[in-house]
Symmetry: C2
Subunit: 199 residues, 2 copies
């Protein structure tokens, strides 16, 4: 069964890929907004970890809408949630039997409710799988330590390929650098540099 | 990391074991109520699938309480939920780094909320993992077909080792055979007979 996993190059979506690897033919799919070429970081991680890799570009309107939502809110949660849902829809429209993402049990954003998951499955005729939905923060941290080589740091410094980087760039372009600081709180990001040798 | 998986011999908990197998040292743990020796069916499946196996016996009071709850309700859901939670507590008190069960995304019972999961983790110092929490009914069915040999049929006919069989037996003993029919609606159960050869 062919599975497309929405992929950022970070620890969660890489761990999700490893969990599914024995059961599906996994392709990592990085959604991008056409704003920067940060998606190339995800391609590097896909090569290092040995997974197939594809990209999918979202509509300009989706990016603009998300940025306006974030400026209106003064925080990024709803905008990121919107882009995540658009990205899932885009992967669901590709030619996979199943799709997946790296959302964890303890994530506040993005989240997909059971009803939204079932709706996605019914409308697109795919299985939608969230391999980390039943893993808490502690379990994820321990699995990452045992299986992945990771670099981490503040969001604006770590190499990353998810649309947060592009949303920041778009926000800066449309509303100035100060808008980025207003909307995005400081938080840690991770980027996977490889698999642990003796896993 | 040592993980104890609450185990019934059915397709869901066997699939959960396979999903975790690359990442943990998995021991299948069957909880029983001391009413019947149906737990032996789970031991057979554990042997066939190559996993370590242990049992844990729950308190008589837990069984009696669950049965009285079911008689009062006229349906089994709350009683089964109670026993499931007791069983998770019992496995959490054993000597594992992590515990798990075979609950799926679309299950109505048993369910464990995120708050309950975090409470279990905090009180016992273990990770509590629900590997199928992010898998819907269709995904589980397709994974089972690709990976497990299964027999299925009405609850009262299929070999099984979960506490539902014991709760039925206890209910019949305390309240007569008719009480079992009153409380338990007809539904399908599964029993895993092995792994698919070419998985």
């Amino acid at each position: 069964m062919d599975l497309g996993l929405l992929y950022s190059g970070g620890k969660d979506s890489t761990l999700a890929a490893l969990l599914l690897d024995d059961f599906y033919d996994v392709t990592l799919v990085t959604a991008h907004l056409g704003v920067t070429d940060d998606w190339r970081h995800a391609r590097e991680t896909a090569e290092t970890t040995g997974f197939a890799f594809e990209t999918v570009e979202l509509d300009d309107d989706d990016a603009t809408e998300a940025v306006e939502q974030m400026v209106e809110d003064g925080y990024p949660r709803n905008g990121i949630q919107q882009v995540h849902q658009r990205a899932l829809e885009a992967v669901a429209e590709m030619d996979f039997d199943a799709i997946a993402d790296g959302t964890r049990r303890d994530d506040r954003v993005p989240t997909v409710s059971r009803a939204q998951a079932q709706s996605l499955e019914d409308r697109h005729g795919v299985d939608y799988i969230v391999p980390l939905a039943g893993f808490g923060r502690g379990a994820v941290d321990r699995l990452v330590e045992a299986n992945l080589s990771v670099e981490s740091g503040p969001s604006e410094e770590v190499r990353k390929a998810d649309y947060e980087a592009e949303l920041r760039a778009l926000l800066a372009r449309e509303h100035g650098e100060n808008a980025v600081e207003d909307v995005f709180p400081d938080h840690e990001q991770t980027y996977v540099t490889g698999l642990v040798a003796d896993r």
